[in-house]
């Protein structure tokens, strides 16, 4: 695969050298397997293979980009012409540049041969195990909406005219269950997902049981009274908020005046118990990789240390604008787009208190297990108002289930209001967090 990709890439770079323009070829080959089972039978099996190329050209300080999934010589000719001609329309910008090489990359284990060598039948069995475990966990589990196994294997090659030549292959796998519990005309859902870099680390039984547990604990939930009350967020809920915070530490948002963290480096932006890190080299991390989508080595970057803002995430362009170095966060989700700043393994560092200790002295509060409409939270203003579900905390104990309420506030206030950080750090894909105890949050219900 490496040779085939390199052959295509080098042909385009030759062209760039001849014409004296800067160019970068990003080539991706991706294979995916998705299995969904219903009542022990395979409901859907999907196998996919795609390959494509994104071409970035910088000509006279102007940026051009085009992509294609057709790698025939004629299509490559067209993609070249499209990218070069676009350079005559975009604004001139002397901060545009491609990273220079050669570079030494960290040696990371990001490929698990076991995933590649395990048969489809065995993978189907993993999904079945997760489904069975969910049904057997509680007799009130009546429907498994879906139980599945997925894996993905990709080869990534980045070549540019400044000497970058980066190639690696990676893979990961995951299993998930969405379960429905029913009792006395009430139906509630619960889900669980686990994504791992190694197949041996997947635990389908735990995933099935957790989905069932989450569904059952929500049965007969009702609205709660409105008020400003202490809250505890489960790690999953915290990772949903991390999606918003990731956009606020993005140097591009900062430079464009679209982040409340603008101009706040060195200042206190949250409670002292909060430390936030991005680490593209995190062992076992699903988003770990030797290099980013521009061929810059991945690294560990501290963003908030003990409540103080200490850094932003940079790609090559935004780093040029701030006269600093890329943090290896030039990401792209496919060959179809330009790289832009993105997080890798993005996490709030765990504390020392157990969930029990976090909750113990709360007379009345809200334990938040689910948020809805998180995509409507505004990373620019920091404002959020989202649907929420969970359980009431009464005298330090989890009691009645709650749904149909909203929680609202501003991310900046939320970070200030964190009173304690749990020791129960957990990853959901590339985002990891422990439980957080929030002094007060505005809850709207009855």
């Amino acid at each position: 695969m490496q040779e085939r990709l390199t052959g295509i890439g080098e042909a385009l770079l030759d062209k760039a050298h001849r014409l004296g323009v800067d160019a970068e070829v990003f080539l991706l080959h991706n294979r995916e397997l998705m299995i969904e089972v219903v009542e022990g039978q395979v409901d859907t099996l999907k196998e996919a293979e795609e390959m494509g190329l994104g071409l970035r050209v910088i000509k006279g300080n102007r940026l051009g980009f085009a992509f294609t999934s057709d790698l025939s010589p004629k299509a490559l000719e067209e993609v070249w012409d499209a990218a070069v001609s676009i350079c005559s329309y975009t604004a001139s910008d002397h901060y545009l540049s491609l990273p220079s090489g050669p570079v030494k990359y960290p040696s990371l284990i990001v490929y698990d041969p076991v995933i590649a060598h395990t048969s489809i039948e065995e993978k189907i069995e993993l999904a079945r195990q997760a489904e069975r475990a969910s049904r057997q966990h509680d007799s009130r589990i009546t429907v498994i909406e879906r139980a599945g196994y997925e894996d993905s294997e990709f080869h990534s090659l980045i070549l540019n005219t400044r000497g970058i030549c980066a190639y690696a292959q990676g893979n990961y796998c995951g299993t998930y269950v969405f379960a429905v519990a029913e009792e006395d005309e009430d139906a509630q859902t619960g889900f669980s997902i686990s994504i791992k870099q190694k197949l041996a680390d997947l635990d389908p039984l735990a995933v099935g049981q957790e989905a069932a547990h989450n569904a059952v604990r929500s049965l007969h939930a009702r609205r709660a009274p409105s008020g400003r009350i202490p809250c505890i967020m489960e790690p999953y809920v915290v990772t949903r908020f991390l999606g918003i915070i990731a956009q606020m530490v993005d140097a591009e948002a900062v430079q464009k005046g679209k982040s409340l963290f603008k101009g706040r480096i060195g200042q206190k932006v949250g409670a002292e118990c909060i430390s936030l890190t991005d680490d593209g080299t995190y062992p076992g991390g699903v988003s770990s990789f030797p290099f980013d989508s521009e061929g810059v080595p991945c690294q560990r970057t501290e963003l908030i240390r003990d409540g103080h803002l200490v850094g932003y995430l940079y790609d090559t362009y935004t780093a040029n604008r701030d006269h600093t170095r890329s943090t290896g966060n030039g990401q792209r989700s496919s060959f179809r787009g330009l790289p832009s700043v993105g997080s890798t393994n993005f996490m709030i560092e765990p504390g020392t208190r157990s969930l029990y200790q976090l909750m113990d002295d709360i007379p009345y509060g809200f334990y938040i297990t689910e948020v809805m409409g998180m995509h409507t939270a505004n990373p620019i203003s920091g404002e959020f108002s989202v649907g929420a579900a969970g359980l009431l905390i009464e005298k330090g104990q989890l009691t009645k289930p709650v749904r149909g309420v909203t929680i609202a506030g501003n991310i900046m206030q939320l970070l200030e209001q964190v009173e304690a950080v749990g020791n129960d750090m957990r990853f959901f894909g590339g985002r990891g967090a422990p439980s957080l105890r929030i002094r007060y949050l505005s809850l709207s219900g009855e």
Binding site: L63, T376, G387
Partner: protein, 475 residues
């Protein structure tokens, strides 16, 4: 696009191991986007993509294989893999497949294909919108303008002998403005789009959109925090239809209903909404963002009444779910691209206009919240709970529109809310969006008249200062 003999050979290969139904979906797509931020043309993207998805059904099981290798060998290999995954005890016994073009609605006439419009012209519109928002004053700190267009040519052929070819062109314009004053940041957003070529620009004005987005961002700088608690809500027609999309649309998609994941299951023929409420999904309205001539399984798009004067009369079906319920597909089998299997999805979904005067609905509301613009939303179809974002809201006091409020999400329960709609206006307003389900995004439009809901939970942050609103909690 491709030889009928070869397509038949591929479908035949896919059924060799005993599947009941095989389908091939081939897509060729050219797309461009122009993106302006920081007062300059920052990015232009141009892409070309081709791929095929092969689906085989066997006794309720689906196997789906996609590839962007469209050579004869590549497609036959994909067909073999899909057929193998769906294999059954008996080998395939189907007869020869002979493909016949399927009759359907007239092809859409696109006047100006986006790939034939020069970048200069696209850039001119984008820059004019950027200027219009920035001219609103120094509170405007950032403006993002983007226009994206794509032209998809699709071919769908299946082992029932049907073959459909279709051209789909969409253009979408988006403007977002950021205003800042004294450390407070607010945003405004406008989007418009449709199934149309660049002639869409004769109907929409990016400059007007930019002004509206900018004015909204500035107005929200002075808005008060939204109240907290339950109160009457009037939703203006210009607010768009996110509410109907979340409160009932998703719950009427047949796959969710059949899996037992919808509050609307087993409710056919029953009253599920106030008798003044009718809900319709209509793919046949010309030019709307969710309109389609054929769905992504080759079924002609149609108008489907879902709720008729409060009674549930239909669900949204694709081929697979229709077969399970022994009904016909309603033409709602849609997919994001060749990389996805089709599933039941909405197209253009709306609450039908009623008889009330929209202004009178507000006048007759003594206290409550007026929603003038909705943002995104989400629903849990199993229990019917939904949320949607209010981008522009006002307090209603004594039948008059009062102060602007910000930072509110409204939450309610689908069947409860539909039952508590007590006024339906005679107007109708559309909004466009990309609807996400099972990891697939498809373009949709939603609409509603001005309506009033007796009580919804407003999720603001202001616990004090609006005592009048608390008093409404009588029931």
């Amino acid at each position: 696009m491709m030889d009928h003999m070869l397509l038949a050979e591929i479908l035949d290969e896919a059924l060799k191991k005993g599947g009941n139904f095989a389908e091939i979906y081939i897509e060729e797509k050219v797309s461009t986007s122009v993106y302006c931020e920081d007062d300059r043309i920052e990015k232009i993207n141009s892409g070309r993509e081709r791929g095929a998805g092969i689906r085989v059904l066997a006794k309720g099981r689906t196997s789906y294989v996609y590839t962007n290798d469209l050579s004869r060998e590549g497609l036959l290999k994909a067909a073999r893999v899909a057929g193998h995954a769906a294999r059954s005890q008996q080998a395939g016994t189907h007869g020869p497949i002979s493909l016949q073009s399927k009759p359907g609605p007239e092809p859409v006439r696109y006047l100006r294909l986006p790939e034939n419009v020069l970048f200069d012209e696209k850039i001119e519109h984008v820059l004019a919108a950027n200027r219009a928002a920035r001219e609103l004053g120094t509170d405007i700190k950032q403006v993002t303008v983007a226009v994206g267009d794509n032209h998809k040519s699709v071919l769908i052929a299946n082992s029932d002998g049907e073959i459909v070819e279709d051209d789909r062109v969409r253009v979408r314009f988006v403007v977002s403005a950021v205003a800042e004053r004294n450390g407070v940041i607010q945003t405004g957003y406008e989007s418009a789009g449709g199934v149309a070529g660049w002639e869409l620009l004769d109907q929409i004005s990016p400059v007007d959109m930019a002004r509206r987005a900018g004015e909204l961002a500035i107005k929200m700088l002075d808005a008060r925090p939204a109240p907290v608690g339950r109160m009457p809500v009037v939703m203006s027609s210009e607010a768009g239809g996110t509410m109907v999309h979340e409160a009932c649309g998703h719950g009427l998609e047949a796959d969710l209903v059949q899996k037992g994941l919808s509050v609307y299951r087993n409710k056919l023929g029953q009253q599920v909404a106030a008798s003044i409420v009718s809900v319709i999904d209509d793919a046949t309205i010309p030019g709307k963002f969710g309109s389609l001539r054929f769905d992504d399984e080759g079924t002609p798009g149609q108008r489907t009444v879902l709720i008729d004067k409060g009674h549930l009369v239909g669900y949204l079906y694709d081929r697979l779910t229709a077969a399970k319920d022994q009904v016909k597909s309603t033409g709602n089998g849609r997919r994001e691209s060749y990389q996805h299997k089709p599933i039941p999805r909405m197209t253009n979904t709306f609450i039908a206009p009623g008889e009330d005067d929209p202004e009178e609905i507000i006048r007759s509301t003594s206290r409550g919240l007026l929603v003038k613009k909705m943002g995104g939303g989400q629903v849990n179809t199993t229990n019917g709970d939904f949320v949607f974002e209010v981008q522009e809201g006002y307090l209603i006091e004594n039948g008059k529109i009062g102060a602007a409020v910000r930072g509110a999400t409204l939450t309610g329960n689908g069947p409860e809310v539909l039952a508590s709609i007590d006024r339906v206006g005679r107007d109708l307003g559309y909004a466009i969006g990309t609807c996400g389900k099972d990891g697939q995004g498809v373009p949709v439009a939603d609409a509603q008249p001005t309506i009033r809901i007796k009580e919804l939970t407003v999720g603001g942050t202001s616990h004090e200062g609006h005592p009048a609103l608390y008093r409404i909690r009588r029931k």
